[in-house]
């Protein structure tokens, strides 16, 4: 059998786990219409200058046709002066407008692209926190990196080039028909060949190119990971398996290259045959027509030269059309973010007071698999509460519910009597803030990293916040203080420093209730305790719910809730729980190693 069948493994299918919606056809169409409408003037300008450029380019063949006609008629005086002058003027006009076409095309493409990427980010930034928490940022990241990139090519090149090519081809065909209507027939003969070939090709091409691009990206991704994990790979002697992985990726990628090459092995002859048919049709049919005196030699020459010029726009249409199809998939993924439903926030909900309560709360990520079972909890204002318990017991989930990020499946979580999950995210965060282990330091000046918590804060306030988290020392030592560029590619910030920045933001945002989810876990143990103490002074009087894996954090809290298997199994102060002799007490003893001394110390302190 001739031909290559598509490889079974499709790298784009595992490219990224899709956790956010992908837009349907209707949404994509509506968006494209909106985009075109927004840029209709730029489009009109592009089509206009393009028409002029093409018309000017048709002057040459027309003039040559006339000269040939005169020669054939045996004219003695060819009036070459005016002809050449006209040709030169047309050339100047054409050059000018060709330049405009390229420029206008870029302006249009770039504007649409900028709109697209900015729209996407605006929409992403407005996603409800619960959706983000659940979907993770991986899918969004993939969309902004891969899909925006793929669209860039389409918007920069495909859209303007297609607009140009369609106008161009149309005008040339029109030119042929105007020169000699009969020659238009010749141009049409070839159309079925082109349509059939393209139909075959375009049904297969977009998916194949997507897979090919994903396969190529996977080659680079495997290498990037090898570079990043160099130490781990060396320690575990994974060298051979990494080389093998890279070669498998090369294999997968090149299989798709081979398949798309086969697709083009069909397409290219199709286009060639199409050109040849048009050219031969115009020449030979035209020749017969001339012999029959239905046509002049000049008309034939002009028509043939115009037919020859058709090669380029047809090639452009075929070349860019599949780019557009590939882009459509990426567009659907970008626009899909618009389909995330806004949680129906009730702006009238407003807390009266600061007491945080959970009443018979049940919650699960999947239907029928509850992570929390009937949790009830009352946190009076100003309490410092610690949540402790084994991994997977539901501490972090409870923390997120108390911070209003998730809505409970049943039961209520209220702040000052108002339902937390019903409030708009902006209202919630004025009251409650969650700091987790994910301490993102944004690329840019350190100042911006703090200002996000309170826009318009003065430098004095920023320094005070840094002081409260023991970070003023190292920030002062930075080359440009608050203006130092941090984040990837600039001054590297250690995980511990990132954690301090996150806490400084919290000090600036100044909510009355805080949920700290292992917020100091990355600091070395001694620094963690120092930081918690200085933070304690700043946060004095605020409600703090700390999810902690180090027992000293629990030791310092007013109330400790031990979470096990989605339930609160023990609740009370450190002393009460130690005295009760339950799971917490056992852990405390083994953690402290030397029970006698420390217990005495504990008693003395309290």
């Amino acid at each position: 059998m001739i031909g290559v069948s598509p490889p079974e493994y499709d790298p784009s299918s595992v490219e990224h786990a899709t956790t956010l919606p992908v837009a349907g056809r209707a949404t994509v169409r509506a968006y494209v219409r909106e985009l075109l409408h927004r840029h209709r003037r730029a489009f009109a300008v592009l089509v206009g200058v393009n028409t002029l450029a093409v018309l000017a380019s048709m002057v040459g063949p027309y003039l040559l046709g006339r000269v040939v006609q005169d020669l054939a008629a045996g004219a003695k005086d060819l009036r070459l002066g005016p002809t050449v002058a006209l040709f030169a003027v047309a050339l100047a006009v054409q050059a000018f407008f060709v330049r405009m076409v390229r420029l206008r095309g870029a302006v249009l493409g770039e504007r649409m692209l900028a709109d697209l990427r900015e729209d996407f980010l605006v929409r992403s930034v407005g996603l409800p926190p619960g959706v983000l928490e659940r979907a993770g940022t991986g899918d969004l990241l993939a969309r902004i990196n891969t899909d925006v990139d793929r669209l860039a090519q389409a918007m920069r090149e495909a859209v303007p080039q297609l607009a140009i090519a369609v106008v161009w081809a149309g005008l040339l065909l029109g030119g042929i028909v105007v020169t000699a209507p009969a020659l238009g027939l010749a141009a049409l003969i070839a159309l079925p060949v082109l349509v059939a070939g393209c139909w075959w090709y375009f049904r297969r091409a977009p998916g194949a190119y997507r897979a090919e691009a994903a396969g190529y990206a996977a080659v680079a991704a495997a290498l990037a990971e090898t570079v990043d994990a160099g130490r781990t790979i060396e320690a575990h002697r994974l060298e051979a398996s990494r080389v093998e992985l890279s070669e498998r990726r090369v294999f997968e990628w090149t299989r798709w290259e081979r398949y798309t090459l086969w697709l083009r092995t069909v397409l290219i002859p199709t286009i060639n045959v199409y050109h040849s048919l048009i050219f031969a049709g115009v020449l030979l049919l035209g020749g017969v027509f001339v012999l029959q005196d239905w046509l002049s030699v000049g008309q034939l020459t002009t028509g043939a030269l115009l037919a020859q010029m058709l090669v380029e726009p047809i090639g452009m249409i075929v070349r860019w059309f599949d780019e557009l199809q590939v882009a459509q998939v990426s567009l659907a993924r970008l626009v899909g973010v618009r389909e995330v439903e806004d949680t129906d926030a009730d702006a009238s909900l407003s807390p009266q007071g600061r007491e945080l309560t959970a009443r018979e709360v049940r919650f699960g990520y999947l239907a029928g698999r509850d992570v929390l079972h009937d949790v009830s909890l009352r946190v009076p204002p100003g309490t410092r509460m610690a949540l402790v318990g084994p991994s997977g017991a539901g501490k972090s989930t409870l923390g997120r519910l108390l911070a209003g990020i998730y809505a409970p499946g049943s039961g209520d979580i209220t702040l000052g009597g108002a339902r937390l999950s019903g409030m708009p995210a902006e209202r919630v965060r004025e009251q409650v803030a969650l700091v987790n282990q994910e301490h993102h330091v944004f690329v840019g000046p350190l100042r911006d990293n703090l200002l996000l918590a309170r826009e318009g804060a003065t430098d004095a306030e920023l320094w005070a916040a840094l002081g409260a988290v023991d970070a003023d020392g190292w920030v002062r030592a930075l080359p440009r203080g608050l203006d130092t560029e941090v984040g990837s590619g600039a001054v590297a910030v250690t995980p511990a420093q990132a954690q301090q920045i996150a806490l400084a933001r919290l000090v600036l945002a100044d909510p009355h209730t805080l949920v700290l989810d292992e917020a100091t876990s990355l600091l070395d143990p001694r620094a963690a305790r120092d930081l918690e103490r200085s933070l304690g002074r700043v946060l004095h009087g605020r409600t703090v719910i700390a999810i902690a894996h180090r027992l000293h954090t629990a030791h310092d809290a007013d109330v400790i809730a031990v979470v096990e298997d989605g339930r609160i199994s023990e609740l009370g102060s450190h002393d009460e729980l130690v005295a009760a002799g339950g799971a917490y007490a056992a852990l405390w003893r083994s953690w402290h190693g030397s029970p006698s001394r420390e217990d005495e110390a504990g008693r003395l302190v309290h």
């Binding site: 040559l64 050059a95 060709v98 330049r99 930034v125 160099g230 402790v388 991994s391 143990p525 302190v605």
Partner: protein
């Protein structure tokens, strides 16, 4: 070489003396493909070049009003079309094959070189630099290498056509030849500026993408605390800068486009003028005039290839340079690996002369270090072949200097799990498929590292409640998992390896106390009878250790059991209980 035979079983040893030599090396390795591309390319362009001839013949035929001549022209036309179609298709296939094989070869070379350098790589060259070679540079290198043969074909055809025209009609031919030269040279002065602007544009575009992904990566922070507008505004600025830079770059390219209309256009005007004059004087026929006009327009096609090759060369030069910089790196990996099998690995006590640390064979030794950086360096040194080259003497295993052993042998004997072990992406099964002694099963290791909840979370993510967690995908660096979950999976991986000596640097720093206590028990049980060194300050782990060593200022300051040291050593107590030494008793008695 066919695409279906990729990847290469051996990509070869590249010539890395310079970027140009590297390009040449790649070219030499595909001489066959290049030759075929040259032949198909020549045939393709030659057939296109013959089309104007047919056009002239047809015009001449109708001027002569000869149906026979017209039919003959038709047959000729058919033959040329067939040749053109065949050549175009085959040229494309060969050119793409050349491109792909060159790119695949470079990718394979990169993969081999980076694994060979291991942890040393990022100390010698920025990680971003390597990734850049693989993502952007490979394409440009492949493009240039591939374009050489098409360029060759264009040169052959242009020279032939010009020669043909000169023979056919000297005055017109010379005119066209001179014009071609002018056209070729006309855009060259504009090229460097265009490439420069394209580079600026790429830089800005990269910056904008970086800002966007940065904003998205930190979105939870923004949604949790605020500042969305601040960052949106920042991105909009960057995005608009990209737009401006792109338009600026397009301005240059549009100028090149215009030049490419004007120069060939002027040539055409000259040809029409000269040709028509000659035709009216009866020195050439009307058909010949059309042929010359057609040939002059045809020449623009190979001329564009000249431009493309010039661009490919300009773009690929810095790329080749970067590639050579990465591929030229070497690492001394001790004496020849092959000379000595892994069975030659020593065993016994592990000793670090610089600090005085001794880890007895078969025991669980815990090391407490006041300063995390000292701990990191010490842990690195225990494995031999340290990444940070220093003055310290090599660690000894059973009296044998690890640095004196081949790298592979040393790494087999001692596994150092650093503070930030990386989880490689793939399924959990793939993650845990590491070279191992085979004594520890995956289940035992996952159990000892307390990975139960990780498995549950993964099976949930995999496919509903019945999903196989071993088939669940771990994303790059395990970003979908929490810090504690990552640490436990990394620990499980090291336990599966089951080396003679296992060195762990803060393996449980992000794990909660409940789980840490269970891990301590699991670790002690699974490693019973094997040598293990744990750098930690957690009492839960220290309490389980057979021996505890306290390192201060880079030297062993005290040894004993956890309880003994807690009683007798104030410095040790200060580090372990996290109470400042001076205020410890003050608080107690307050």
């Amino acid at each position: 070489m066919h695409i279906r035979d990729l990847p290469y079983s051996d990509p070869g040893e590249p010539d890395v003396r310079s970027g140009f030599r590297f390009l040449l090396w790649l070219f030499r390795h595909q001489l066959g493909g290049q030759t075929r591309a040259l032949l198909w390319g020549t045939l393709h362009q030659a057939s296109i070049a013959l089309l104007p001839l047919v056009l002239g013949l047809v015009v001449q035929a109708v001027v002569h009003r000869s149906g026979r001549e017209l039919a003959l022209s038709g047959l000729l036309m058919l033959a040329i079309s067939l040749a053109m179609t065949l050549a175009d298709t085959m040229l494309h296939r060969q050119a793409v094959t050349n491109w792909i094989t060159a790119a695949a070869r470079v990718q394979q070379l990169l993969a081999r070189r980076t694994t060979q350098l291991g942890g040393m790589l990022t100390q010698r060259v920025a990680a971003g630099e390597v990734v850049k070679v693989s993502t952007g540079d490979v394409e440009k290198i492949g493009w240039f290498v591939e374009s050489v043969s098409r360029f060759g074909a264009a040169v052959v055809v242009v020279l032939s056509v010009c020669t043909g025209l000169i023979v056919f009609e000297p005055r017109l031919g010379l005119l066209v030849a001179a014009g071609v030269l002018a056209v070729v040279l006309s855009f060259v002065p504009l090229l460097p500026a265009a490439v420069r602007r394209a580079d600026i544009e790429r830089g800005k575009s990269g910056r904008a993408t970086e800002l966007a992904s940065d904003t998205v990566a930190g979105l939870r922070v923004l949604r949790g605390i605020g500042g969305e507008e601040l960052f949106l505004e920042r991105y909009r600025r960057a995005s608009q800068e990209v737009r401006a830079a792109s338009v600026r770059s397009a301005r240059m390219w549009s100028l090149i486009d215009a030049v490419q209309v004007v120069m060939p256009g002027l040539l055409l005007v000259a040809v029409v003028w000269q040709g028509a004059t000659m035709a009216s004087e009866g020195r050439i026929s009307a058909g010949a005039l059309v042929t010359v006009y057609g040939a002059a327009t045809f020449l623009m096609f190979p001329l564009r290839l000249f431009q493309e090759t010039a661009m490919a060369f300009t773009f690929s030069r810095p790329s080749a340079k970067r590639a050579v910089r990465v591929l030229g790196l070497l690492r001394e990996s001790g004496p020849a690996d092959a000379a000595r099998g892994t069975d030659g690995a020593p065993r016994g006590d592990l000793r670090d002369p610089a600090s005085g640390l001794v880890a007895r064979e078969g025991l669980l030794t815990a090391v407490v270090c006041g300063d995390p950086n000292t701990a990191e360096r010490l842990a690195g040194r225990l494995g031999g072949h340290p990444l940070h080259e220093g003055e310290e003497p090599s660690a000894l295993l059973g009296g044998v200097a690890l640095d004196g052993l081949p790298l592979a042998v040393a790494r087999t004997a001692v596994l150092v799990q650093d503070k930030d072990p990386v989880l490689l992406s793939g399924t959990l099964r793939e993650l845990l498929a590491v070279p191992s002694s085979g004594r520890v099963t995956v289940e035992e290791a996952l159990g000892a590292a307390q990975c139960g909840d990780v498995l549950e979370a993964l099976s949930r993510a995999a496919a509903g409640p019945q999903g196989d967690p071993m088939a669940a995908r771990i994303t790059e660096r395990g970003r979908s998992l929490s810090g504690g979950q990552r640490q436990r999976l990394a620990l499980a991986r090291s336990l599966i390896t089951d080396p003679e000596v296992l060195v762990l640097d803060e393996p449980t720093s992000a794990v909660d106390s409940h789980t840490e206590a269970r891990i301590a028990a699991g670790l002690a049980g699974l490693r019973a009878g094997r040598s293990t060194v744990v750098f930690t300050s957690s009492p839960l782990l220290l309490d389980r250790a057979d021996a505890v060593v306290f390192v201060d200022e880079g030297r062993v300051a005290a040894q004993g059991t956890h309880r003994d040291l807690l009683e007798t050593h104030a410095g040790y107590r200060a580090v372990v209980t996290r109470e400042p030494e001076t205020t410890h008793y003050a608080e107690e008695t307050a």
